[in-house]
Subunit: 345 residues, 4 copies
């Protein structure tokens, strides 16, 4: 039995961690902190948890934290970089669901996030938590930077193409669409049901914080700098990301060979599903599950390859991947607690 | 390890049974039949099942059925009454999710369903599968008539009031609202997204088939005939039933005493949650879970009691309750496979 | 050509007034005030208005107001009671879409709204703006209290029954469901798409501010005090109210006679549509239109009458009815600018 | 007063034509045919029309048709090509909302639509009804081929870039998302609310019928053959198309110059709105309106230009554009009956 804690547990990634962790018998949730809700029962804020826990939100408390084997930061950007180092020094492992340790270039991070990094010394020691790329390093890591929701989908979608050097890296396009839970649980006019439902729009067209994170990953896969046009859009759904990825093929390769490449690359991955030729994955097919599904297309047999990639932004795009990383870090089966099937319909 | 089968597995209750059963290690799904999809893999029709099963839909097959410990009928009304008797005679247990064995009065059933019952001899031997009322009988039963979605919510909501004889049984009202999955997976104009979303309406105001089923149950609780006005409405959501129940109190009883009555009646029920005073349950708090949540109100302290009752129509209102019944019938823990928390948000 | 102004134009009733007024050639919008948005173009806040206006939100300005024939208050409760009197004294007509002048009993108003009324002398002079009841008085009025959204539907639904003395006034029930735009355009967690969509719940079960307003109206129709149980619910749709009304019939009257009663009462009303026997109105059939549709039912031919009543809460329930009142007050055709058909689908 | 008729009026484009035409005083709807609904009142099928018409759906009737000035075909593909020629010969003008006369190359049309064209002689005489390109020819036309929904958005979006020769025509991308009303009013499982809501997916990735129509238009603008990758997606909303268009710039042109180009090209177009720099149009800003809104972006100031283009697929994408064409053909003001503002929220 391992004990974990959650710092910042009153947002959507917090309650999703609880949904995945509370039913487990091999993991115990020691504390869940939330400054805004300290002293309130978890199930008062989240009635879906009624019957599953008697815990109360606490203030962040060093003693509580120190007693844990691993702590999840489900906090806004800028919190983990302050609190994680002392925990790490005390031997507590950390999975940070925020962006604090995702970018290896601190100056780039400071530019995009508008903050001064307070623990840059931990940045090079943080492992980027995409198990399909970094499985072994994650298992050995003390500090894992859990990937962003868009970056998970886009990187898994482009990975085989870039590793194989098949597309023009100067002109990649990711037309991405996210469910609104990605915007978080804060009160705002733009994400009201009356504003966002029965509608659709692009946002952050001029530049989204996930762009440098994605490009960092794609650069590594391609072993050269790539240029990505990344256009996020807001879907009037709760959960789900759909990335439509476009690349210009450098040589004449058939759709069947592209399909084979994807199947081979992901044949041992339990959470990446390469769908049969001709498929179009629906986001609902992963609602509540940790799966990422991919489909490969080559319209009109021209020189543009189109990859369709989906995930549940709160599971494989956040809390589910964090639990997957925890499983690796604490020696559990990588799939433990993550085998629930998607809700259908 | 027990083996079960599903007859009529290509509808919403079929895929929901699969979501609940496939991950279990103590139950094996032996076959899933579907005339329309025979020969097609389950995960072709339901991509959410990809990775969880290699099964193919079969024709209904007596040999396959005979090898099962229990068979679920997730068929349209009128099928189980034809096929169940021979299975029961062969010692196979049956949980019928259709309405074939729900009404003890065969003439009433034939009136509302417009069919001649072909196995009326099994009607008196069928146990109505509401564990909160019939737990022991279910555990001993060969044939369980799984309750309808509305009837589950409405009966659990009225039960304590009627057992205690607190309300005027001549004038009960159930204003019920159901998610659209209750209408099934058949193609129809009225349930298209373009027709039903961003809208709301009542339907079947003149008489819904669940009325006699509910009244049969309420009569038994009240030990006298009741008269219920039952108004179903169509919600533009996928899953969830919300019943708002009204009763005229026969004597002066406080809200606190009503609350205590409900808490006491359901204190040992793991799938009925009496919420704290002043609560208003949201259907999403049970999305994907087998829980029914209730809240008790007495507006303006007048003589009308208002009960708010919710469930997921596909879980506690159908497949989840069917699994709960199966657990009782096959000797499993009643909660086995049903402890998943609701998806939130 | 008449000139009107809108105080508090940055909410949903404000933009809906603009949608209805800007295309008119007989009415000119002189100013739209909004403290929060003063100095910003209207079409920056509401891009749907692009091309229809070059106006900029202003501070509330006495000079601008004085130049208008009529001013709409689309403000939160407690503002019109401060600003309307001086305008009225200066001869400007006022339609108040807030609740400030709706309740004739000032003490009751102060109890439910938690404010001290600052212009109680205007309360008895305010005309309740339900044209189907007060048409002549509205045409002659200086100050019209525009009805609440729920009160419009519930009162129009019960009106014929109460005028005819057909139902038990001690036990009326209004089970009402509203689209989320009724909650306004303020940022809040509870009305986020991620919280409120794909879900349904009751709210304000213990007492909603529209209860005394509705009871005031029903008392007048019945010419005796009534007791109403009013249960509002939140629909995951943008626009639309559906009220399901229940009354106990005092005598044996046929469904056909009830239908005839409703058709007769509303035969001259252009914005009240009594649907054919057996109908179930959908809220989408009035999306964007000023129509209220009613259907009469008597389930199982028992002694409970069920009225289904729908409206668009922002049109007949707010801005449309305000324009209807303006038409009467300024001598326009009552239907002017209100003949747009509902958006379908 | 002109008289028009609608053939095939029981689908979404049919009822949308009625919404736009019935309130007009300069146009009279002479008949609306529907084989499936012949003999039924229009407002029985579409309750939103109650109070606005007493018409009954008729069988297609040559005499009725012959008495009209103009007839709209809102029929499935393959009907207009049979019926239009005799009407045209009799001097009745025709606006065909189906695809029958959109492709100038009959062989291409037959390939994509799987039919043999029965009136190929009318193909070269049909004018493609995009007024922003063909205004004069439309005004003089007898037969107008009303553009498809996607083609309208994509062509208006690319037009200035292609006319100016600014982008690589070998590698255009249109990532397009459509509301579900685009799939029509036929019963189907895939477009049920329970299947399509709270989800998102691509479809027709291998080839959509609108691809040749779009490429035909883009070829003409570019004055050379273009290659477009067109990826349609299904949005869980009722109305609205959002096209995200990508082009590779051939030379170094600033965002400001691109913006100026778009503003200049569309400065006289009342139904094309070039939004301010930095904008991201929402589909709801045109819900129910005939407007197409565009925004120009150049992310990271790299060599990829991104155009965001929206419309209401049933208005500017179908019935609204058809009315705009009718206005031109019958000598009305082009804007007549099309100045309604979008529903907001």
């Amino acid at each position: 039995m391992k004990t974990v804690g959650i710092v910042g547990g009153s947002g959507y990634t917090g309650v999703e961690l609880l949904r995945l962790l509370l039913p487990r018998e091999d993991v115990q949730v020691g504390f869940v902190s939330s400054r805004a809700n300290a002293g309130t029962r978890l199930d008062t804020v989240f009635p879906s948890l009624r019957g599953a826990t008697d815990l109360t939100f606490s203030e962040p408390d060093v003693a509580l934290m120190g007693g844990c084997d691993l702590i999840f930061f489900a906090t806004p950007n800028g919190t983990a970089m302050l609190q994680a180092p002392s925990l790490l020094d005390a031997g507590v492992k950390v999975v940070d669901l925020s962006a604090d340790y995702r970018l290896q270039d601190v100056a780039t991070w400071e530019h995009w996030y508008g903050l001064t990094h307070t623990s840059p010394e931990w940045v090079p020691r943080a492992i980027y938590g995409l198990p399909e790329i970094n499985r072994k390093a994650i298992a050995a890591a003390s500090l894992v930077a859990n990937p962003g929701c868009y970056p998970t989908t886009v990187q898994l979608g482009f990975l085989p193409l870039l590793e194989a050097g098949l597309v023009d890296t100067d002109r990649l396009i990711a037309d991405a669409k996210s469910g609104i839970s990605g915007a978080g649980r804060g009160a705002s006019v733009a994400t009201l049901l009356a504003e966002a439902s029965d509608s659709f729009k692009a946002y952050a067209t001029a530049g989204h914080r996930h762009l440098p994170e994605i490009e960092q990953g794609l650069n590594a896969m391609a072993e050269q700098p790539v240029a990505l046009t990344f256009t996020p859009h807001l879907l009037p759904i709760i959960r789900g990301i759909h990335a439509t990825l476009y690349g210009t093929l450098l040589s004449d390769i058939s759709l069947e060979d592209l399909q084979a490449l994807y199947q081979q690359r992901y044949q041992d991955e339990v959470f990446v599903d390469v769908m049969p030729l001709g498929s179009q994955p629906e986001t609902r097919s992963v609602k509540g599950s940790n799966m990422c599904r991919l489909a490969v297309h080559k319209p009109q047999n021209r020189d543009t390859v189109v990859i369709l990639a989906i995930e549940d932004n709160l599971v494989k795009g956040a809390a589910g991947q964090a639990v997957q990383n925890m499983n690796l870090m604490l020696g559990f089966d990588e799939k433990a607690g993550l085998e629930q099937l998607a809700l259908s319909p």
